[in-house]
């Protein structure tokens, strides 16, 4: 059962273009013929019920799936026209370009400062002034600076959950990626922290291409420019958020967003 590709799925000027992506865990297929283009400097939300392959798809974009054993990818993903599954491509370069924020915040057991500059240190930057500046800028971008500026050298483990997640965003922003992947960044946070992070995502939109996986349809509606609805490994519908939530083209999408299913 293959669905026809929606014309909008090949958006003009896509930064990330996905063509006929199939993904297998051993013999089980997790993504089925997914094709669409993700525009630059926009927020694209991936929605769909649990287990539909949203996160798996997201992890294809920075090749985090490389760490999973027995996983096989077919099809083509290009970022700025470059095939990211090309064996000649340096995956470290790719991950420098494509940052990621995880569902469960994962700061390192180091100081707040060291967490933020970790990516820069990894890239070999040693000048104290450069690191200091990057730390301040990134923490300001992540709207965390005012809360932590007096305790940068204290352990990141002393922060609250929402602060830790913003720290993880600051950490991702610090290496100046072009694309930021967010895998349900608010799912474990209270409403206030969620609001802060949503605000942050709206602010980051101008500089970064953001792809966010979310369970929360209101959230997708609030923060995204484009939305993709996935179900059982297939991309059902993709289009501008406004349109997808008001006049969805497909029956399944409508059922899901109106809450009759899912």
């Amino acid at each position: 059962m293959s669905h026809p590709v929606n014309p909008i799925m090949s958006a003009e000027n896509p930064q990330v273009a996905v063509e006929h992506l199939n993904l297998f865990y051993g013999t089980a297929q997790a993504l089925i013929d997914v094709s669409f283009g993700i525009p630059k400097s926009q927020v694209t939300a991936l929605i769909g019920p649990s287990g539909c392959g949203k996160s798996t798809f997201l992890r294809c974009i920075n090749r985090m799936n490389d760490l999973v054993e027995g996983l096989r990818v077919e099809g083509l993903i290009t970022i700025d026209g470059e095939n990211i599954n090309d064996p000649a491509l340096d995956v470290i370069e790719l991950r420098r370009k494509v940052g990621m924020v995880f569902q469960k915040w994962n700061p390192f057991p180091k100081s707040i400062y060291e967490n933020v500059v970790y990516g820069l240190r990894i890239a070999g930057i040693k000048e104290r002034s450069v690191l200091d500046q990057a730390a301040e800028q990134s923490l300001k971008r992540a709207a965390l600076w005012d809360e932590v500026k007096d305790r940068l050298q204290q352990s990141a483990m002393g922060l609250s959950g929402g602060q830790m997640q913003r720290l993880c965003i600051a950490r991702a922003v610090a290496v100046h990626p072009e694309i930021i992947l967010m895998d349900e960044p608010c799912s474990a946070l209270d409403p206030r922290s969620t609001a802060r992070i949503e605000q942050l995502i709206r602010e980051l939109r101008d500089e970064y291409t953001i792809i966010i996986v979310t369970h929360n349809m209101q959230q997708a509606a609030r923060i995204s420019d484009y939305t993709a609805y996935m179900y059982l490994g297939e991309l059902i519908e993709y289009g501008p958020t406004q349109k997808l939530f008001t006049v969805p083209e497909r029956q399944e999408t409508e059922e899901y967003i109106t809450g009759r299913f899912g």
Binding site: L67, W105, M157
Partner: protein, 531 residues
């Protein structure tokens, strides 16, 4: 019905678990009590009792025990009477019914001697021909001994000089042997070495002459002592290590005596086939062995653990290796000892001798037990503990941390060195602690790979090349076995067994608590408990 309710309450399970813990605690405390009770007062000066027997004879010594005589049914006392050179035995049983009176003569002396154990008796006369002190007539035994001390020190200084000289002669002889081995016996180099040896020998003869004359002067200074029954014994002042009158000592004097014994224990060499004197070489050997074992085994164990957890592809082979590593920890330590003897000592050591010390053969250099081989054997014994600890520590790090680091464009190796190893360090250190404690208490494998009853020199000293990995060494664990079970005078050695045990336990506690302190600090720093 009632029992069912009783069982559901959960009380019996609490009792069962607490009973198990109490049993273990009881055994541990009993052991510590026995060691402490017997070990801590060994050096406290004990009073000397004099028993006047019904037949008119006298017994002088420390009354150490009172018990029922299995033969007669009456009470009997055990006296430590010392004076081994006079009586042949240090201990004597005395029938309580034959004792007329027991007294504590204040004038009774105890002399600790270089040889023949303690002397219990009274001072009759001091003969000090070499000393012209104005107070000579009224001089006490202690003062006389103190005056003779510098001269005695000089003698031992000359003795040390001779020992160094001997070492030099030996080295020159080795050089000559090497030249002869290379068939260069007629070369100018060989002639030079021969001349050197001649020169050293002349110096040696000169020193021996000085030594003999000094010794004669020192030996002329004697104390004439008598035992309880008036038997005379002449003791050279230089042979007296300590003299004291325990029945006439204040509490403070006893404390100072106690401290001086502890000091001797920690820094002096053993005397009298290890039953007297200090334990310094054994303490040094034990600590050095544990350190060398750590240096040799920990890096290898940690690297192996990292490979198993981080790089090896999970499969049957890795599972088999893991089971094998776990089982290695269960092999009896004597088996490791035998392996160490066969592989390290005879195999590797033998090859090293063939290649680098061929001129000394058939005298082995590395082809015999030594601290290097003992450390390696112990390292082999403890490496499984380190591997398992490393693996577990790495495995318990949340996967999100690894992903977080790799998503920030860190390579696997960067993630390992910057994030995972620091986070795993508390767990790895726990493995080190277990390994160290095990290594410090191990005796069996050492007995065949390099431990000796009495090592003539430390494996670390001031003679080039300073670190002598081929040397044999002493060890507290072996010391306990040796003096406790192999000593010709077991009864006299018994207090020393307790003291040595106490010391070994203390050393292990100090080493492991240092490691635990470090571990806890790291745990605080790298904890991710809230993630």
């Amino acid at each position: 019905m009632l029992t069912k309710k009783f069982l559901r309450q959960g009380e019996p399970y609490v009792w069962a678990t607490s009973l198990a813990l109490s049993m273990i605690l009881f055994i541990v405390f009993l052991l510590m009590y026995v060691v402490l009770a017997n070990g801590i007062l060994v050096f406290w000066p004990k009073e000397v009792s004099q028993a006047i027997m019904t037949d008119g004879s006298l017994v002088l010594g420390e009354k150490i025990r009172q018990e029922k005589d299995p033969a007669t049914g009456g009470q009997r006392f055990q006296f430590k009477v010392g004076n081994r050179d006079l009586y042949g035995l240090d201990f004597k049983w005395v029938d309580a019914q034959k004792v007329k009176t027991l007294s504590r003569p204040e004038a009774a002396f105890v002399l600790e001697r270089q040889e023949h154990g303690n002397f219990y008796g009274f001072l009759q006369e001091l003969k000090t021909p070499g000393l012209h002190s104005p107070a000579e007539m009224g001089m006490t035994l202690q003062a006389a001994r103190d005056i003779i001390e510098p001269q005695r020190a000089e003698v031992s200084k000359i003795e040390k000089k001779i020992a160094t000289l001997n070492h030099k002669v030996e080295q020159s002889n080795n050089r000559l042997a090497r030249l002869l081995y290379k068939k260069e016996g007629a070369s100018p180099a060989a002639a030079a070495v021969r001349a050197e040896i001649e020169e050293l020998k002349t110096e040696f003869d000169r020193l021996v002459e000085i030594l003999n004359s000094k010794r004669a002067i020192v030996a002329a200074n004697v104390a004439v002592m008598v035992d309880a029954n008036g038997r005379e014994k002449i003791i050279a002042l230089a042979d007296i290590v300590r003299c004291y009158q325990p029945n006439d000592m204040s509490w403070l004097e006893k404390c100072s005596y106690y401290m001086s014994r502890i000091k001797e224990l920690l820094i002096a060499e053993p005397r009298e086939s290890n039953t007297e004197g200090g334990l310094f070489p054994a303490i040094f050997g034990t600590i050095m062995l544990v350190f060398m074992m750590s240096i040799l085994s920990f890096p290898v164990g940690v690297l192996a653990g990292i490979y198993l957890r981080e790089y090896a592809k999970e499969g049957y082979l890795v599972k088999t290796v893991r089971i094998a590593v776990n089982n290695l920890a269960g092999i009896p330590s004597i088996v490791y000892g035998i392996f160490g003897l066969g592989f390290f000592v005879y195999g590797v050591g033998g090859q090293i001798d063939q290649l680098f010390f061929a001129e000394k053969l058939p005298t082995p250099t590395f082809g015999t037990g030594g601290i290097l081989w003992a450390s390696m054997t112990l390292g082999l014994l403890t490496v499984p503990v380190v591997i398992v600890a490393t693996e577990e520590a790495l495995g318990s790090i949340p996967p999100g941390i690894r992903e977080g680091s790799q998503a920030l464009a860190a390579t696997k190796f960067q993630t390992l060195t910057r994030i995972l190893l620091p986070m795993a360090s508390p767990g790895i250190l726990t493995g080190f602690i277990l390994a160290m404690a095990r290594a410090a208490g191990e005796v069996a494998p050492l007995m065949i790979t390099g431990v000796v009853k009495l090592a003539p020199a430390l494996p670390l000293d001031t003679i080039f090349p300073y670190l002598h990995l081929d040397r044999k060494f002493m060890h507290l664990g072996f010391h306990i076995y040796d003096i406790g079970f192999q000593s010709p005078n077991v009864e006299a050695a018994k207090p020393m067994v307790y003291v040595t045990t106490l010391l070994l336990i203390l050393i292990v506690i100090i080493m492991t608590s240092t490691a635990i302190y470090l571990r806890n600090r790291m745990r605080e720093r790298f904890s991710v408990a809230d993630l």
